[in-house]
Amino acid sequence: MDPQRWKQEVLKKYPSKVAKKREKSIMVHEGADNIKPIQANVRTIPGIITQRGCTYAGCKGVVLGPTRDIVNLVHGPIGCSFYAWLTRRNQTLPPTPDSPNYMMYSFSTDMQDSNIVFGGEIKLKQACREAFELFKPKAIGIFSTCPVGLIGDDVHAVAREMKEELGINIFGFSCEGYKGVSQSAGHHIANNALVKHVIGLTDKAVEGKYKINMLGEYNIGGDAFELERILDKCGISLNSSFSGNSTMEQFERAHMADLNVVMCHRSINYVAEMMEKKYGIPWFKVNFIGAEASAKSLRKIADYFGDQDLKNRVEEVIAEELAIVKKSIDEIKPRTDGKMAMLFVGGSRAHHYQELFNELGMSTLSAGYEFGHRDDYEGRRVIPTITIDADSRNIEELTVEADPMKFKPRKTEEELKALEALDFNGYDGMLAEMAKGTLIIDDLSHYEMEKLIEIYHPDVFCAGIKEKYCVQKMGIPLKQLHSYDYGGPYAGFEGAVNFYKDIDMIVNTSIWKMIKAPWEAEPVIEAEYAA
């Protein structure tokens, strides 16, 4: 079915006001040279079943969740804390069995009736003391859930008081779920707090000649371990990771790196921006999803440092790794070539994973983000034109200035100019790499998803667990790209090979042939399922 027609059919089902709104979030792409604006990062309409989570989920679960030595204390009723208890499959590897690791703990003030009526600050303070007494952690983060703001508890004041009393770093987040339109607002809030309360606390950098920070990599399924392996092999030192397999110390020394590379632009670009202003660390976008993309990203980093030794080393590593990758592609691609994927996930994955599918000869027919902004679709150049609505205004915009003591330009103006090709502070977004005629849908609703599957029958649909069983009931395999379906890593070179194997397995399984029972009549030929 022609995508324009698909769009019209789907919109018909909505009440007219809703259709008007959804209209702007569904777009038939006109090609990289004719990128049109798309509506993104606006509130989901009530009653529409969305993939999105809440601000708190983005703040606690995504950004701070993967850091092992901070105690995350959730201030609110129990559910919010329970549901965010180790559900994201991010991994961590403490150096010794005795090293602090609080990731498997879900601490909550478990607010009760009386706390809602009389306020929960006293309970919160007590909970801080308990966390301290139990673990003597380096830091405690306090996360507010919906009722907190409403009943007027001041988590920041409590944090300050407890910091004083207990003598460790304690900070709060006003990340009440309703504040933003999705997880995205929570990312921003978390970024702000890291800049305000953590980054810059210690000047002891990691050892090494080429020190970088990896931003927006969350070690789902062990991705960070694979990237650590590659960087290590190239002789590049990882000074800090935001935040896969990370520690508080890594955040504290982040300002000592020579370069920030950004994986997931959506969730962490604020930290990259602020660190540049405050400490003079340049940043650029990389992508380690896909073997070619990984090679390209490594070259970018080597070019930045400009050192011939490093460049040589990086080329050696790439050659070695790609040889293995190629073998795998040669074997698998004949079985996957020409198949079709759809990706609706996250704020960068729906873009990044297209690389991997391309490598398998698979095309992406439709894609969209769950919580991306316009810049994630259209590229950062549209940022000045993005309208700020009430929901975005809710989230604090930190203004940072060059730190009088710690600001240090890493490159001169001329050097940066010469390196322009690295595209500092740039990101072209998803649309620049998608084919003309593809369907771009922001904040895909459950209903729209059903219609996509029904009409287009992709060979694989990528989303999360909430969509999984629904799509599979329709006879289409779903690959979870939040949790990787218990697989992974998928980043880097070994990750790419893992992904090829998993996709091969998925799109070439024989299960679907069994759907029809032998006693059933021949199915009616279904019309109009052309790609």
Binding site: K13, Y14, P15, V18, R43, P46, G47, I48, I49, G53, C54, A57, G76, P77, I78, G79, C80, F82, Y83, A84, W85, T87, P94, P100, M104, F107, D110, M111, Q112, D113, S114, I116, K123, Q126, A127, E130, E133, L134, T145, C146, P147, L150, I151, G177, Y178, K179, A390, D391, N394, Y447, E450, E454, G464, K466, K468, Y469, K473, M474, G475, I515
Partner: protein, 466 residues
């Protein structure tokens, strides 16, 4: 890394909760109504998390809408969001029923959902509207089980009609697995009873593969059936605790401090038969006896044989299980049922724990065990860290409960037999059986085999025969 041990201390914080939040329970109930789409009136995150959690257990599509509060809504009230939400649901899904659960946020600002429903009905009086049901489920007043029972009572109180008493019976099984529900239906059918089972998510949360996509999964108790609960001759209700704790615990306000069967007894004169969860032989015997009385028929041979086989298994398995020490945790009525069963097979429940706080768990456990285990600890309002800290002293051989206790059993290197909800680290949670002779047989086999496996793995010889 281990927490610094301080078993004596009591905490105000909840560390690794052994309970979920109230709208989840209500959503499960709404999924057990035919043609129902649940909506959570509050922020979008709650609906997303709750869907996510139910899906990871049932491995089925679970659609739950949200009225998606924004900052503005928290100030001006949720009425516009409510109306838009309902309108959208009707337009896209055209459900027969919309089940609305409140959440912490909407309750905090004092939203009155019955009023919102009334107003919506009035404004749209000319249209054919779905049936609306609702449950008041603030999570700061109780757990997912309180939400579950609140929804059951509230739906029944809303729909049960008056009329002449029929020959049918009601059965309110509580929060059990889809396979349990299917088994119950078989039993009732075999007794030749006309029954209303509510909630019935045996299909809607465990559907076969579909030929054609169903926008609202099939299965569930039809509204017309729920209406019939009012004219039944009796109600069977599993669980001694249910939401009765409301009377002597802190859960008081705005809640249905009655169970569905209580309400029907009081308002529709339907006889209420109180039963425990039929786990183990004693409790199942009571259930079957009740069915014999209600149907006027003897227990069908099939179940007699199931019972016989179960007794046979108890005898043969005795040597593996007797004297073992178990930590049992989960929903209050589920643990009462499990303890009743463990007592029969000679496993000593050294700790019985629940995140629920009805205030009557201890009393019920003591009643069921008849003081057999003076050392046994029964603790309400428990979290997993408190359980963790008690293990040193309790020296358990086995854990019986949901997936969340896995990290402790792993640390101790002892088996965990997964029951109840949530079970998201094993496949087939929707098909786990707990109830009846058949379900008990499954449980008994699983527990026995877990203990045998432990013994085998820890034996230096590696026996092949046991």
């Amino acid at each position: 890394m281990e927490a610094v041990k301080s078993p004596k201390k009591t905490f105000v914080s909840t560390r690794n909760a052994c309970k979920l939040c109230a709208p989840l329970g209500a959503s499960v109930v709404f999924k057990g109504i035919k043609g129902c789409l649940p909506m959570i009136h509050g922020s979008q995150g709650c609906a997303t998390y709750i869907r996510r959690y139910m899906i990871s257990h049932f491995k089925e599509p679970v659609d739950i809408a949200s009225s998606n509060f924004s900052e503005e809504t928290t100030i001006f009230g949720g009425n516009r969001n409510f109306n838009t939400g309902i309108e959208n649901i009707i337009q896209q899904y055209n459900p027969e029923v919309i089940g609305i659960a409140s959440a912490c946020l909407s309750e905090t600002i004092g939203e009155d959902i019955p009023r919102l429903i009334r107003e919506y009905r009035t404004v749209n009086a000319s249209k054919a509207l779905p049936v609306f049901v609702n449950a008041s489920t603030p999570s700061y007043q109780g757990t997912h089980m309180d939400g579950f029972h609140e929804a059951v009572s509230s739906v029944v109180a809303n729909l049960a009609e008056c009329g002449e008493t029929g020959t049918h019976i009601n059965i309110f099984p509580g929060f059990v697995s889809p396979a349990d529900l299917r088994h119950l239906k078989d039993i009732l059918t075999d007794f030749g009873l006309d029954y209303v089972l509510f909630p019935d998510y045996s299909d809607s949360l465990d559907n076969p593969h579909w030929k054609e996509y169903q926008i609202i999964p099939e299965g569930g108790t039809a509204v017309s059936e729920i209406k019939r609960t009012g004219t039944a001759k009796a109600s069977l209700e599993f669980g001694y605790i249910l939401n009765l704790g409301g009377i002597n615990s802190r859960i008081t306000e705005s809640k249905a401090a009655f169970t569905a069967a209580q309400w029907l007894e009081k308002n529709r004169s339907v006889i209420r038969c109180k039963l425990g969860m039929p786990i183990g032989i004693n409790e199942t015997d009571r259930f079957f006896k009740q069915l014999e009385e209600l149907s006027g028929k003897p227990t069908p041979n099939r179940y007699e044989r199931q019972r016989g086989r179960l007794v046979d298994a108890y005898v043969d398995g005795h040597k593996y299980v007797f004297g073992k020490r178990a930590i049992v945790y989960g929903d209050e009525d589920m643990v009462v049922g499990l303890v009743a069963f463990l007592t029969e097979i000679g496993i000593e429940p050294v700790l019985v724990a629940s995140g629920g706080e009805s205030g009557i768990l201890k009393r019920e456990i003591e009643r069921i065990t008849e003081g057999k285990y003076p050392q046994m600890k029964v603790v309400s309002g428990m979290d997993f860290e408190s359980i963790n800290e008690m293990t040193e002293e309790l020296k358990p051989d086995i854990f019986i409960g949901n997936s969340k206790g896995y990290y402790i059993s792993r640390r101790l290197g002892i088996p965990l037999v997964r029951v109840g909800f949530p079970v998201h680290d094993r496949f087939g949670a929707q098909r786990l059986q707990h109830l009846g002779y058949e379900g008990t047989q499954q449980l008994f086999d699983r527990i026995t085999n877990a203990l045998i496996e432990y013994k085998q793995e820890h034996s230096p010889v590696g026996y092949k025969y046991i």
